[in-house]
């Protein structure tokens, strides 16, 4: 592979990491609290609220039902508002984040449901407030599940970010399509695939290690 090809590959890898890290961070910051809200407003949970749960659940389901490629185009006005442009790596972060928030929310909700309800009761019997139950009991106890969910989300974001090439987002997927597919450059195509596989393996490995570190349940 030529020096040019290497630099293309590194640039693309950097763009992918940039998109995944940025959208990943934001979607965790917004998605986990949303997942907590979905959980606590469920029937029989600490802040049961049917109406709120239905509205939030409806929004989350709507977000998850739109295919990413359509979502990217549909929210161009929002992207332009937030980043000033609708083309480029930074612009791609907006649809990636928007698509991942409901995904993270459902995964976080699922991780919280796994926490035995007896622990919540024990905390209530100690006089814990709902906020204390969330921060001192639910989130720490769900941490292994949450880390697992974050790993899944990051891996999904890597593959979604490849589609962001469609709006000039750059990254490894874009490189693979432009060189590998459109120019029949098999070497770059192969290199792209290898780097993607290595990236996903690395993410999964780190995620598993962290999950094991925090899982004290056995």
């Amino acid at each position: 592979m030529s020096a040019d090809a290497w630099s293309l590959l590194f640039k693309a890898l950097w763009e992918t990491l940039y998109m995944v890290a940025f959208s990943g961070s934001i979607c965790f910051l917004l998605g986990i609290p949303l997942g907590v809200l979905l959980y606590v407003t469920r029937e029989g949970r600490i802040l049961e609220n049917r109406a709120a749960n239905m509205v939030l659940g409806g929004i989350v389901n709507a977000g998850r039902s739109i295919p990413f490629i359509i979502l990217m185009v549909a929210i161009i006005p929002l992207t332009r508002l937030l980043t000033g442009t609708s083309i480029g790596t930074t612009a791609a972060i907006v649809p990636l984040t928007v698509a991942a928030i409901p995904f993270v929310a459902r995964i976080a909700e699922g991780a919280l449901i796994e926490v035995p309800s007896g622990l919540v009761e024990a905390a209530q019997s100690m006089g814990a407030s709902p906020l204390q139950i969330i921060t001192r009991v639910l989130l720490p106890e769900a941490r292994p599940g949450l880390i697992n969910g974050m790993t899944i989300t990051l891996v999904t974001l890597v593959s979604y970010s490849a589609m962001a090439g469609a709006i000039g987002g750059g990254g490894l997927g874009d490189l693979g399509i432009r060189y590998g597919y459109q120019r029949f450059d098999g070497v770059i195509m192969l290199a792209t695939v290898v780097v993607l596989i290595a990236l996903v393996q690395l993410l999964q490995m780190i995620g598993d290690r962290l999950q094991q570190h925090y899982d004290r349940s056995h």
């Binding site: 024990a122 209530q124 019997s125 100690m126 407030s129 004290r216």
Partner: protein, 343 residues
């Protein structure tokens, strides 16, 4: 210390109303260990969960230390709960926290300083015999150790009341005994009032001062534990006492057994008494005085609330007049019940 007044809890799953608690009045005196026993589904667990309002009663009053919890705001209720510790059948420890941090949790929630937490937790580790487990996680502990952590945690906020919801039901008999003796120690040393919900008569027998029997959401009998064992009133209470003293049904050991008297049939009586060496002189005296013989069918000495209590089943043989006189003599001195006849 705990007073329940006309307490009712109605569940309505799928529209049909079920009265889990049906007009219960209960009074737990300060400093006692009070047991509520009943079969599963009797409403015991719902009852104890009403005491700290984990379950909101449908009607009635819940007074703890003179305060009616049902009239408190959410915030006041949270404060009141610092005064009421609770332990559970399945321990409910946080798997992500060490033993030390689990015990510290109620204090953290109350906003105590690190120093204050350490000052409270270290003596509790000693009291519950967990000094060397400080840095362990719950998954590394046995069931008995987990319940000890839960007890230490429940005591951390220095409550006046400790609620135990089937606290020994998931433990083996030996561990159960050690947990019960820990509860008794706590009750004595810290002067904490303990309310225990259980389906195991052994728990009542070992540590309770008073006991109430619950059936279909109602308290059907309530008494001091010794009186309860000496003289149970309801059929359910009698059944529980019999199971606790391992009494076999008489028909199993006496093929000639009949429940009604008939010509020439001899009475079988159950004699219950407190204290060792009480009943034997009585029996020999009756035998000598009224010229009767006593055939001992079953005998058992049990420790009830740290007192020796004897249970004896005898067949009285002799002339009808002598039998009647012997019976009367025994009735004047100990708890006697004619449970049937053999011919």
């Amino acid at each position: 210390m705990i007073e329940l007044k006309n307490l009712t809890k109605v569940f309505a799953p799928g529209g049909t109303e079920v009265k889990a608690i049906d007009g219960v009045d209960l009074s737990v005196p300060e400093g006692t260990i009070y047991g509520v026993i009943g079969s599963s589904g009797a409403g015991k667990s719902t009852l104890i969960r009403c005491v700290n309002l984990l379950e909101k009663p449908s009607s009635g009053e819940v007074l703890v230390d003179g305060q009616d919890l049902t009239r408190l705001s959410e915030k006041e209720l949270r404060l009141a709960r610092h005064n009421i510790g609770m332990i559970f059948q399945h321990f409910n420890l946080l798997s992500s926290r060490t033993v030390y941090d689990n015990i510290a949790l109620p204090l953290e929630l109350a906003g105590a300083s690190k120093q204050a937490i350490e000052q409270a937790v270290l003596p509790l580790l000693e009291l519950t015999g967990l000094g060397d487990k400080r840095h362990s996680y719950p998954a590394q502990l046995s069931g008995g150790q987990k319940q000890r952590v839960a007890i230490a945690r429940a005591l951390a906020s220095k409550p006046k009341v400790l609620l135990c919801d089937e606290a020994t039901s998931a433990l083996d008999p030996q561990t159960t005994r050690s947990i019960l003796s820990l509860l008794k120690d706590i009750n004595r040393q810290l002067k904490i009032t303990v309310l225990i919900i259980t389906h195991e008569m052994d728990v009542v027998k070992t540590i309770c001062d008073r006991v109430a029997i619950m059936s279909f959401g109602k308290i059907i009998e309530e008494n001091e534990v010794e009186q309860f064992f000496l003289n149970p009133q309801t059929d359910l209470a009698k059944e529980f006492v019999r199971s606790a003293i391992h009494e076999k049904p008489i028909a199993e050991i006496e093929a000639r057994f009949q429940s009604e008297p008939s010509e020439g049939a001899r009475p079988v009586v159950r004699i219950t008494f407190v204290g060792q060496g009480v009943v034997q002189p009585l029996i020999t005296k009756a035998a000598r005085q009224f010229n009767t013989d006593f055939n001992i069918l079953q005998a058992d000495i049990e420790t009830v609330n740290e007192k020796a209590m004897g249970f004896l089943m005898v067949e009285i043989m002799g002339e009808p007049e002598g039998i009647d006189q012997s019976l009367q003599f025994l009735k004047d001195n100990v708890q006697v019940e004619v449970i049937g006849y053999v011919s």
